[in-house]
């Protein structure tokens, strides 16, 4: 699985798209390496889907260019299409077909034999739902079917537009395992999401978008590290009072949130050692900075998906 020229799987330069006065995508550039799991993270309306659709070649950029596997994606490039797989935000299915008929139809569009389509149905765990119409499937089942339909022709690059939106937490976790397995098989995966934890859990690198711009792009851990935010340690006020806490070396600040004494520190291991000596570990919680804090730091406002 390679782009054939040794370059990045996806290369985006100076991408712009405006709708009237609204700059939906405003000078976006990034590269995605072959085999990478790449995330575009941001709240609704940040420009994630528009960016993705321009990268896929569905939408004509106002400016900038996109190379996918070394080839331009606009205008529609039929040589490129069999090498990419796409799951769109809505459930793009034919009406009143069963799950098996859907994937067989999509397989036929790519000249893929039905047997291979059935294998994919099994891989996403829908064999027992093969005879059900898509209208009767649950949200999670529909998403898994859409992903199977996007992958039935074994594409090199896979685009997933908010695959876990509107799923319950259980269904989201199940889908994560599937998404990881796609990437582990060597595919380049590009995913948009408005869930911080999803981006953290799945992506090698994340582009954080807001108002059409990429605010920052790095691996989730590097983004958090770069924030240099303190770790917060929550302990029971019965075990450690605020005054006790202030006496602990390495603690930068102490607050009381009503149920816990909260210790902020940049040297958590020393502080935790001292708390262990004080025998104050019962019910203790440690919260490191997350992408949510990164977003807050970048935009100055709370993250609302």
């Amino acid at each position: 699985m390679s782009s054939g020229n040794g370059g990045p799987a996806i290369s985006v330069r100076g991408l712009r798209k405006a709708y009237g006065d609204l700059a939906a995508v405003d000078d976006v550039s990034f590269d995605v390496a072959t085999g990478e799991f790449f995330g575009i993270l941001g709240p609704n309306g940040a420009g994630k889907t528009t960016t993705l659709e321009m990268v896929e070649g569905l939408r004509r950029p106002d400016a900038g260019d996109v190379h996918l596997l070394g080839e331009p994606t606009w205008p529609r490039n039929p040589r490129l299409l069999p090498r990419i797989g796409v799951q769109l935000q809505a459930s793009a299915f034919f009406e009143r077909l069963t799950a098996r008929e859907q994937i067989h139809t999509f397989a036929a569009l790519y000249g893929v034999p039905p047997g291979q389509a059935d294998d994919w149905l099994e891989r996403v765990g829908l064999t027992d739902k093969a005879g059900s119409r898509t209208e009767a499937l649950s949200g999670g089942q529909k998403q898994r079917l859409a992903i199977a339909c996007a992958l039935v022709h074994e594409p090199e690059v896979v685009f997933l537009d908010e695959p876990t939106a509107a799923l319950d937490p259980q269904a989201r976790r199940n889908l994560w395992d599937l998404l990881r397995s796609l990437n582990e098989a060597g595919r380049t995966v590009v995913l948009t999401t408005h869930y911080m934890d999803e981006a953290e859990a799945l992506c090698d690198r994340v582009a954080i978008m807001d108002h059409g711009k990429v605010l920052q792009l790095d691996s989730p851990s590097a983004l958090v590290r770069g924030l240099d935010a303190p770790v917060r340690i929550f302990v029971s006020p019965h075990l450690v009072t605020a005054d006790d806490a202030r006496a602990v070396a390495g603690v930068d600040a102490v607050t009381d949130d009503g149920t816990s004494t909260v210790l902020s520190t940049r040297s958590p291991s020393a502080v935790l050692t001292r708390l262990a000596e004080l025998n104050a570990l019962e019910g203790l919680q440690v919260k490191a900075a997350t992408l949510e804090d990164v977003f807050l730091d970048l935009t100055g406002r709370e993250y609302r998906a």
Partner: protein
């Protein structure tokens, strides 16, 4: 090619499993066919009711051939009272009252139904002339040899079948195109297909081919039922109805595309298609002839594609016109389809 076939099969399955669209494409128009065929057949060519006052020797002494014709035309009741008989005609209970005054046959008839009035006068005149000629004792010098030709005014089923078929095809073609364009755009299936290697023309061709197939099935069912159950008689070049119907299907698909391009939801698209089709069906003579309509209305209807489909279908299916009678309607329908499709393409937006 496999892409084209896969999409066509998917559309067919979606259509066959959609009870509503099946109903509106087949059952609903057939209900009208049964209804109209039944009503008009019952009402066609009833006898003229005649009240004979006293003795009318002319009728009692008819030769055999004339007797037969007389019985076919008239249903006779007898009366003694001339005034009461005329009153019956006046009230509409009878069509004509006949009595003898000396050697004169006096017929009191009503003009309420002009056809019956004309038949009554003509037939009675013929009987009197025949009797006069027989009384003169000389053989007739002239005789009438009646040769029947196809009439412009058709038996009800002959008229109703092509019109209702046109309406049925207009509905299913317009609804199908509207629902597909709107629904597939809304569900992003159109976008998804754009990102598959299948060319756009294959996607369009699949939808067109399925719609044409549905139209041909509708035609087979309509003509089949008409022939078997209602005495429909097809004339020589009826087969020209097939390409004509295909051209009509294109025209109505283009209307459906227009509805699908404008409307924001699938229901809206189907409703808009209905808004185009139903008034057009009335104005194009699908349900009843336009002969009685005011001239401006008849002129207006010439702007409607269904009018040309209906006219062409009547010509080749039942009026016995040659195959060329379908050419001009076909050209008009294809031209309409091309223009409206262009407009729909211009109005189409990927985003709502």
């Amino acid at each position: 090619m496999t892409g084209f076939r896969a999409i066509a099969v998917a559309i067919v399955k979606g259509f066959v499993r959609d009870k509503m669209s099946l109903f509106f494409a087949l059952v609903f128009p057939l209900m009208f066919l049964v209804l109209f065929g039944g009503i008009f057949n019952f009402a066609s060519s009833p006898k003229i009711t005649m009240v004979v006052v006293g003795q009318v020797p002319l009728f009692d002494n008819l030769p055999d051939g004339a007797r037969q014709a007389f019985d076919d035309s008239f249903e006779v009741t007898r009366s003694r009272d001339a005034d009461r008989a005329v009153a019956e005609v006046r009230k509409g209970d009878a069509d004509v009252a006949v009595q003898m005054r000396g050697n004169t046959v006096v017929a009191h008839y009503t003009q309420a139904d002009q056809t019956k009035a004309a038949v009554t006068r003509g037939t009675l005149n013929a009987f009197v002339d025949g009797a006069n000629q027989a009384a003169s004792g000389t053989p007739p010098r002239y005789r009438l040899d009646a040769v029947r030709v196809e009439d412009q005014s058709l038996k009800a089923i002959q008229f109703v079948t092509p019109g209702l078929l046109g309406w049925a095809v207009a509905m299913s073609a317009a609804f199908g195109a509207a629902a597909t364009l709107q629904g597939w755009r809304n569900s992003k299936l159109l976008r998804r297909l754009q990102l598959s290697p299948v060319p756009t023309r294959s996607v369009v061709a699949a939808r067109v081919v399925v719609t044409v197939l549905v139209a041909l099935v509708q035609m087979a069912i309509f003509l089949g039922l008409g022939l078997v159950a209602f005495g429909l008689q097809l004339t020589g070049s009826w087969w020209m109805g097939v390409p004509l119907l295909v051209a009509g299907t294109m025209a109505f698909m283009s209307l459906g595309l227009l509805a699908g391009a404008i409307a924001k939801t699938q229901e809206g698209a189907v409703n808009l298609a209905n808004f185009f089709v139903l008034p057009m069906a009335f104005l194009s003579g699908s349900f009843f002839p336009l002969d009685g309509a005011p001239p401006w209305l008849q002129a207006t209807s010439l702007a409607l594609p269904l009018r040309h489909l209906n006219d062409g279908m009547l010509d080749v299916l039942v009026r016995g016109q040659g195959p060329t009678a379908a050419i001009v309607p076909m050209l008009i329908l294809l031209g309409f389809a091309a223009v409206v499709t262009l407009v729909a393409v211009r109005l189409f937006r990927w985003e709502d």
